[in-house]
C-alpha cells in the first residue's frame, strides 16, 4: 500500500527553490469568432502542457481536451450542460489534479501560514479545512486557497493551477519568518478528484470510511478502489455549490479511483461544467472575479478574512480601505432579456459605463442568463437596474443577491 508520506519523501524541496514558470492559458475565457474559426477554440500553448495521471482515462472517454493553466485538461465529455445537470441532480466527478497541492511541516508552520493567509489558521482544529486568500501588502488577491490542518504543524495548501508558480515564489519571499518549516510540492505525485452531487455522501463510504464527515472537515484515511488502496485525504469541500467530497490520493491510485466512482454512477465532468456550477454558486474564479488588482473587501468576501487576527499580510491595507470606503463592489446580476454576458462586456447605467463583467453565462439550473462584475459601489444593491453591453446591444439587467444558487434554498 503506497502512502502519501513515502511519495512525498522523494520530492522534498526547500521553500526557496524556484519553480519554472508555467505557461498560463485561461481556459475559462470564451472564444469569439466566426463558425469558420471555431476549431481553434483555444490558443496554442507556447510550452509543452503537463498531463495529470488521469489523462489516458479522459482520452478513452472521448473528452475534448484543452490547454488550461499549463495543463491539458478535459473541458467536456458529453455536453457541458448535461454534466452540470448530473452534478445538481445526482453525482459527478472532476479531475482537479492540476490544482497546486503544497504541504508544509515543521515547528512554526501553522504560525507562519497564519501570517501569510487571511483565514484563521492558528485557530483551525486538526482535521479541518478553511477557505481564504493570500494577499499582497496592498490587499490585492494573489490567490484564493484552501488550507487543511492535518496536524499541529502539518498543513496542506490547495491553490489554483495557474497561480502555483506565483504562490511558490511568494511563499519563498517569506521563508525568513519560518526557518524550520519544510515544504513539499506534491501536485505531480498525487491525484485530486472532486466527487460532487446530492448522491455523493450516500455512496462515498464504499471507497473511504468517512461517514459523519462534516463540511470542511478532512479525514486522513485509507481509500480503496478496484482492489487497490492507498492512504489519502478526503475532505467535504468542493467548487460546485453542491454537497460532496474531494480526494487527494497517490497518483498511482487516481485512475482506479476514477473508474470506481464512475462505476458508482458518477458522470465524468469537465472544466466547462465546473465553471457553470461555480458561477451559479457565485464562487469566485481567480483571474476573473478576483485578482491582484482587487481586494476581498471589494469582492464581498470578508467572511474569509479573519480581521481579528493579530497580523497577516494585507491586513493594514484592508483596514485603510475599510476606513476610506469602497468605490466599487463585486455584484451579481441577471439579465431581464436574453443574451449571454461574457467576461469583459461593459456594464452600463443610464448609458454610462459603470463596470465590466468578470464572469457570466447561461445557468441551466435557473434557466437564466447570469453574471458577476464590479460596479460603482452605489449600484451594487439588489434591485438596482443596469444594462450589459453585449456587442453593442444594451440588455436590461438587474442586480440580484448572491449566490444565484444555493442547495439549501434550492
Amino acid at each position: 500500500m503506497e502512502t502519501l508520506h513515502s511519495v512525498q519523501g522523494d520530492n522534498q524541496k526547500t521553500l526557496a527553490a524556484r519553480h519554472p514558470a508555467l505557461t498560463t492559458v485561461q481556459g475559462a475565457s470564451y472564444h469569439r469568432g466566426s463558425l469558420l474559426h471555431i476549431r481553434g477554440l483555444m490558443a496554442a500553448p507556447a510550452e509543452p502542457l503537463s498531463r495529470t495521471c488521469l489523462y489516458q482515462a479522459h482520452r478513452e472517454l472521448g473528452a475534448k481536451m484543452v490547454p488550461f493553466a499549463g495543463w491539458e485538461m478535459p473541458i467536456q465529455y458529453t455536453s457541458i450542460l448535461t454534466e452540470a445537470r448530473a452534478v445538481r441532480s445526482s453525482a459527478g466527478i472532476f479531475d482537479v489534479s492540476h490544482m497546486g497541492r503544497l504541504r508544509f511541516q515543521g515547528q512554526g508552520a501553522t504560525a507562519w501560514l497564519d501570517r501569510l493567509l487571511t483565514q484563521d489558521v492558528a485557530g483551525l482544529a486538526s482535521g479541518r479545512a478553511r477557505y481564504g486568500f493570500i494577499l499582497d501588502q496592498a490587499g490585492g488577491i494573489l490567490d484564493d486557497v484552501i488550507v487543511y490542518r492535518l496536524g499541529e504543524d502539518d498543513l496542506l495548501l490547495v491553490c489554483n493551477a495557474a497561480n502555483r508558480p506565483a504562490v511558490l515564489d511568494w511563499l519563498a519571499r517569506w521563508t525568513h519568518l519560518a526557518p524550520t518549516v519544510r515544504s513539499w510540492d506534491i501536485t505531480q505525485d498525487t491525484a485530486m478528484i472532486a466527487y460532487q452531487g446530492p448522491k455523493v455522501l450516500g455512496r462515498v463510504d464504499a471507497v473511504a470510511q468517512v461517514s459523519g464527515l462534516r463540511p470542511f472537515a478532512v479525514a486522513d484515511t485509507v481509500v480503496k478502489a478496484g482492489g487497490a488502496s492507498g492512504q489519502g485525504w478526503v475532505s467535504r469541500t468542493g467548487y460546485t455549490g453542491e454537497d460532496g467530497v474531494e480526494f487527494v490520493v497517490p497518483a498511482s491510485l487516481g485512475p482506479t479511483l476514477w473508474r470506481t466512482l464512475m462505476d458508482q454512477g458518477a458522470a465524468p465532468c469537465g472544466l466547462g461544467a465546473r465553471d457553470v456550477l461555480r458561477l451559479e454558486a457565485a464562487l469566485p474564479l481567480h483571474g476573473h472575479d478576483i485578482d491582484r488588482t482587487t481586494t476581498p473587501l471589494e469582492a464581498g468576501l470578508m467572511r474569509f478574512v479573519a480581521m481579528g487576527k493579530a497580523d497577516f499580510l494585507g491586513k493594514e491595507a484592508l483596514e485603510k480601505q475599510q476606513a476610506s470606503g469602497l468605490r466599487r463592489k463585486l455584484a451579481g446580476f441577471q439579465l431581464l432579456a436574453r443574451g449571454i454576458p461574457r467576461p469583459g462586456c461593459r456594464l452600463l447605467a443610464e448609458g454610462r459605463e459603470v463596470g465590466a463583467v468578470t464572469s457570466g453565462g447561461y445557468s441551466p439550473t435557473l434557466d437564466r442568463d447570469i453574471g458577476m462584475g464590479y460596479v460603482a459601489a452605489e449600484l451594487a444593491v439588489a434591485g438596482a437596474h443596469i444594462a450589459v453591453d453585449i456587442r453593442g446591444r444594451a440588455v436590461p439587467t438587474e442586480i440580484v443577491p448572491l449566490p444565484f444558487y444555493s442547495r439549501r434554498r434550492g
Binding site: 463558425l35 476549431r39 450542460l81
Partner: protein, 137 residues
C-alpha cells in the same frame, strides 16, 4: 443521456458553406437555413441565438446573426441572398434543438431566395465532408 447528436451526418439534399451553414431548398422559391453537425459539435451546448427579424434582407456571405454556446460565440453568415420569411421560434425558445437535431427541428430561418442560382455555388455534402477531412476532422 446525451443531449446532442453524436454521429456526424451530412444529408445529401442540402447545400453547405465553408462557414458551416446549410441550406435546404423547399422547391417553392424559399429555403431553410441552419448550421451543420460539425458547427454545433464544435460549439457545444447552444444556449442563445441572435437572429434577424422576419422581413430582413440577407446578402450572401453577409453576417446573418450570432450563435452562442456555453463557451463560444460565433457569427453566422448568410448562405444565400433573400428575405427572411420566418424565424424558427421553437429553436429561439429551445436553442438546444440545434445540438439535438441540426438539420431538422434545429433549422434557424426560412428565406425567400432572391437568386436561386446562388445555391449552385455552395458545396454538396460530399464536397463539404471532403473539406472537413482536409482540415483534419
Amino acid at each position: 443521456m446525451a443531449t446532442e447528436a453524436r454521429t456526424p451526418y451530412y444529408p445529401d439534399e442540402l447545400r453547405y458553406t465553408k462557414e458551416h451553414e446549410w441550406v435546404r431548398a423547399q422547391g417553392d422559391g424559399t429555403a431553410l437555413v441552419g448550421i451543420t453537425f460539425f458547427a454545433q459539435d464544435q460549439l457545444g451546448d447552444v444556449v442563445y441565438l441572435n437572429l434577424p427579424a422576419p422581413g430582413s434582407s440577407l446578402a450572401q456571405t453577409g453576417k446573418l446573426g450570432e450563435v452562442e454556446s456555453v463557451k463560444a460565440v460565433s457569427d453566422i453568415f448568410a448562405p444565400v441572398s433573400g428575405q427572411v420569411m420566418e424565424v424558427n421560434q421553437e429553436v429561439v425558445a429551445h436553442p438546444e434543438l440545434v445540438n439535438q437535431d441540426p438539420y431538422g427541428k434545429g433549422w434557424l430561418l426560412r428565406v425567400r431566395l432572391s437568386d436561386p442560382k446562388e445555391l449552385a455555388k455552395l458545396m454538396a455534402a460530399k464536397q463539404y465532408q471532403a473539406m472537413l477531412a482536409a482540415e483534419g476532422h
